[in-house]
């Protein structure tokens, strides 16, 4: 699949050299109480007709602000303070609202980031597409309705005609994204700005939608400006790359060249941290030589993060610490009236985790992987089957026995924004499990908090901070520290790094590996991201629709996947087979 795309890039790269969009020294600032805060600082880029260009950067790099500045739809108090945005030679920065109205939709289409919030919940789908068609004078009257159906079919909604009267909440995320792509392309614009068009979607859906988008834009000769945090995706889908960091362009040029030979230290870092199928499991750096400072400076991820695939030492792991046997979980979902639908979220799942190892549970949304985590954590009861922990059946544990189990098995959840109480400062958050289990006196707890902050490489002063003042990565380190407070044997990591930028993600994965070696921890690592699995897991269970379809060692799964579904997942990883220059 990815080979065909790379071929097509080769073709179109020669097509044109006419600049469609030229941004010169663009500066954008946001007016706040403390004055104008710059978000984009002197960005220049050129996009030729028929080409695809990707702006890559972490959150806060100014990539989305740059995209929104082009169609002059900056959020809140944002303002273009300097620079030019030349579209076919015309400076968009100087256009009036009325003139921009003519540019938007007709000349420049826009596909927003979050499919959930970008369609108006109170109007039906047909109305929202047709509105765009009429506004840009593509068609009127009956023809507009016909065109609406056509647009949606082209975007991949084959039953578009029957679904025109449906509302956004009746559509899945992938379908909504198709609608938004349809709207963006409905007037056949010369340029399409796609802001993280697939970051909220499952990898297989992402692949389908990107392929589709690629075909459509190639057919129409539309230029595409991709905004993405995913270097793999950028490499696979765009011929030109612009890397942004803190509001500035640090490196730009042909994708293949930049990835093969990154020059700027920041780009080098990004390229090194991008997980791909070629990565190998992270080995503990402590057992080698690097010190803490080095690890968290992120300077030499090359050697520490993606260490060579040395044989993992055969730990004392002869016995299974966690043994899951034929567990199922049934939910009853109320449908209309008093009827119930039964949903088998987890269907006859069995696996075992040896002490001191990491098992990854991989699957797309709705595969039941997070439910398995909840069942193991005893947050929900199993419908049938058996969960053994350290030789003991844990289903239906109560009171003191349950409390004892909780001391040994601790969770870290996905959302670093939601899993910490916003009203609790860091010190109290980390001390909470100690208090709940009545461990130590105030001074001892304080000492333990200090030790834990140290383990996750945060300064002691952090204890007074509140979650809202910390970055996503820092919050996730707090969550890890809290989970470690009771010196557990097992951490259940539910999508623990999914919401993080790639460099921060690398850092947390590194930290987890360190801690595993140091404390002899056992991990159950739940994720949708196969590329991350390769970095941390010893064994992999692939889940689909509540069932485990493949269980194997990490190398087996990546080198010779047996099941078609696993192969599909592997193929869907953006830039999966791409050889990054390291």
């Amino acid at each position: 699949m990815s080979q065909t795309v790379i071929e097509s890039i080769g073709e179109s790269a020669v097509v044109s050299t006419e600049p469609l969009l030229q941004i010169r020294d663009l500066e954008v600032g946001f007016q706040t109480q403390h004055g104008l805060v710059p978000a984009v600082r002197g960005v220049s880029l050129t996009l030729n007709a028929g080409q695809t260009l990707a702006i890559v950067g972490e959150s806060g790099s100014g990539k989305t602000t740059t995209a929104q500045a082009i169609i002059k739809l900056l959020a809140g108090t944002g303002k273009i303070t300097a620079g030019q945005i030349l579209f076919e030679g015309r400076d968009l920065a100087g256009l009036s609202d009325k003139q921009m109205q003519d540019v938007r939709g007709r000349l420049i289409g826009y596909v927003p980031q979050d499919p959930m919030s970008n369609l108006n919940p109170v109007w039906n789908i047909g109305f929202q597409v047709e509105e765009a068609i009429r506004a840009n004078n593509v068609a009127q009257g009956k023809a507009a309705r016909q065109r609406t159906i056509q647009v949606l079919q082209e975007a991949g909604l084959s039953d578009a005609e029957d679904r025109l009267k449906q509302f956004p909440h009746q559509f899945s995320g992938g379908m909504r994204q198709r609608v938004l792509i349809g709207i963006g392309l409905s007037a056949r614009p010369k340029l399409l700005i796609a802001d993280e068009p697939t970051s909220a979607l499952d990898v297989t859906v992402q692949r389908q939608i990107l392929d589709h988008l690629g075909t459509l834009t190639r057919d129409y000769g539309t230029s595409v400006l991709f905004i993405t945090h995913d270097l793999g995706l950028a490499a696979e889908r765009a011929e030109q790359l612009v890397v942004m960091y803190k509001g500035k362009v640090v490196e730009s040029g042909p994708s293949l060249e930049i990835l093969a030979n990154p020059q700027h230290p920041y780009t080098q870092r990004l390229v090194a941290a991008a997980p791909s199928l070629a990565s190998r499991r992270i080995q503990s750096a402590k057992s080698q030589d690097a010190d803490d400072v080095e690890i968290f400076s992120g300077g030499s991820l090359d050697t520490t993060l993606v260490a060579r695939a040395a044989e993992r030492e055969q730990a004392a792991a002869t016995q299974d610490l966690i043994k899951v046997q034929n567990i199922s979980k049934m939910y009853r979902i109320r449908t209309k009236g008093l009827r119930y639908n039964e949903l088998l979220a987890v269907n006859d799942v069995s696996f075992a985790i040896k002490k001191g190892t990491t098992t990854a549970l991989v699957g797309e949304s709705g595969s039941g992987k997070s439910t398995v985590a909840k069942l193991i954590l005893q947050l929900e009861s199993i419908t049938s089957g058996q969960i053994e922990f350290d030789g003991q059946d844990v289903a239906g544990l109560k009171g003191a026995a349950l409390l004892k189990f909780r001391r040994r098995v601790q969770p870290v959840f996905q959302d670093p924004y939601g899993s910490l109480d916003p009203q609790y400062n860091v010190g109290n958050t980390i001390a909470e499990p100690l208090l709940a289990h009545k461990i130590g006196n105030a001074a001892e707890r304080q000492a333990r908090v200090r030790e834990l902050l140290d383990q996750v490489s945060l300064p002691w002063a952090t204890r007074y901070r509140y979650p809202s003042e910390l970055s996503g990565g820092q919050r996730q380190r707090i969550a890890v520290a809290r989970a470690l407070a009771l010196k557990p044997d097992v951490l259940v990591l539910d999508e623990a790094v999914s919401a993080l930028d790639v460099l921060v993600q690398g850092q947390i994965l590194n930290l987890l590996t360190e801690l595993q070696t140091e404390l002899g921890l056992t991990y159950l690592f739940i994720t949708h991201d196969l590329a991350v699995v390769r970095l941390v897991a010893d064994n992999v269970c692939v889940m689909q629709k509540g069932k485990i379809v493949e269980t194997a060692s990490t190398d087996e799964v990546f080198d010779s996947p047996r099941e078609a579904y696993t192969q599909e997942l592997l193929a869907a990883i953006p830039g999966g087979n791409f050889q990054f220059g390291r």
């Binding site: 220049s44 050129t46 500035k248 968290f296 952090t462 901070r465």
Partner: protein, 315 residues
């Protein structure tokens, strides 16, 4: 080596001096730690409205507690000879129809209004928070029963219910009025609290606390309630004003406080017959009441802006 022309689609690398690479995800230690409540306080502190309304409320409460500090003239020693007399020395606002000093009556009438407002607000807020929190957090049968009872009381508009109940109650004092008003007003707060608790209960930090082994009740007390009361505080501040208006309305209808108890509502009711000749007799107590209500409304606005996370994010 940096390319001189960044517009060309050649490989461009920014000068390292201009784009220094920083340590990944470093904690900015220069900033001071702030809790959400401290944040809210900061947001309120800079608003003049906050200080104006707070000062007014403080003044009103002091007047209610120690009316004799502010008025030396007795409000009940009236001389019909002074009926509708204009302002004079020591009588800045003139006299009512009965020849009572208007200023003194306003000062001494404060207590009744403030008592009703404060007491009803406290009752409603506590009942609402406790009932809403238990129903939302424990759910199940308890929730169903409590919600249905709430629906029933909610179906009777507060003042309508109060009209019925007050017209049959043998005794009418500020305390009974506050009790009657809270009887019909608690479901509103309970509903808001229940909704807030429901969303807090499903948050990840609560799940995390369960998995850490924190007890269910402790989670309710330490995590769920503190994260749910912000909207209740906002409504409570505003409802204090509406209770004062409700008391005045009941007194105006003649089923609030008996004429023997001085209150703004009674004075306005008594003044309506003098409206055509001496509108000031009605306007002064009405102004006192409106300023009080306005003070609480403005405070409510400031508190809402400070506690609304979206408003803070926009800052």
């Amino acid at each position: 080596m940096p390319n001189k022309n960044p517009n060309a689609q050649t490989h461009y690398v920014a000068a390292l001096e201009e784009t220094p690479v920083e340590v990944v995800d470093r904690l900015d230690e220069s900033q001071k730690a702030r809790s959400t409540w401290a944040d809210a306080w900061d947001a309120m502190r800079v608003r003049p409205t906050f200080w104006i309304s707070s000062a007014l409320i403080l003044l009103i409460v002091i007047v209610a507690l120690f009316p004799s500090l502010f008025a030396q003239v007795s409000p009940t020693e009236c001389d019909l000879g002074d009926s509708h007399a204009g302002p004079g020395d020591g009588h800045p606002l003139g006299y009512t129809r009965q020849g009572c000093d208007i200023y003194a009556r306003i000062i001494f009438g404060t207590q009744a209004s403030v008592t009703v407002g404060l007491l009803a607000t406290i009752l409603v807020t506590f009942t609402g928070i406790i009932v809403g929190a238990l129903a939302g957090y424990y759910g199940g049968v308890l929730d169903s029963i409590v919600s249905r009872i709430g629906d029933i009381f909610f179906a009777v508009p507060t003042v309508l219910g109060a009209i019925v109940l007050m017209s049959v109650l043998p005794e009418r004092t500020p305390v009974t009025i506050a009790l009657v008003l809270s009887l019909f007003a608690w479901p509103q707060i309970a509903r808001i609290m229940r909704g807030a608790v429901l969303s807090a209960r499903n948050s990840d930090y609560v799940t995390a606390s369960v998995a850490l082994g924190v007890s269910k009740f402790r989670i309710l007390l330490r995590h769920v309630v503190p994260n749910s009361i912000a909207p209740v505080i906002v409504i409570a501040t505003v409802s204090l004003g509406t209770f004062i208006v409700a008391e005045a309305t009941l007194s105006f209808l003649g089923i609030g406080l008996p004429p023997g108890i001085m209150s703004w509502g009674n004075d306005i009711d008594a003044a309506k017959s003098s409206l055509r000749t001496n509108p000031q007799v009605l306007l002064y107590p009405a102004a006192a009441l409106s300023v009080t209500v306005l003070a609480f409304l403005m405070l409510g606005d400031v508190v809402r802006d400070a506690l609304d996370p979206e408003a803070r994010a926009r800052r």
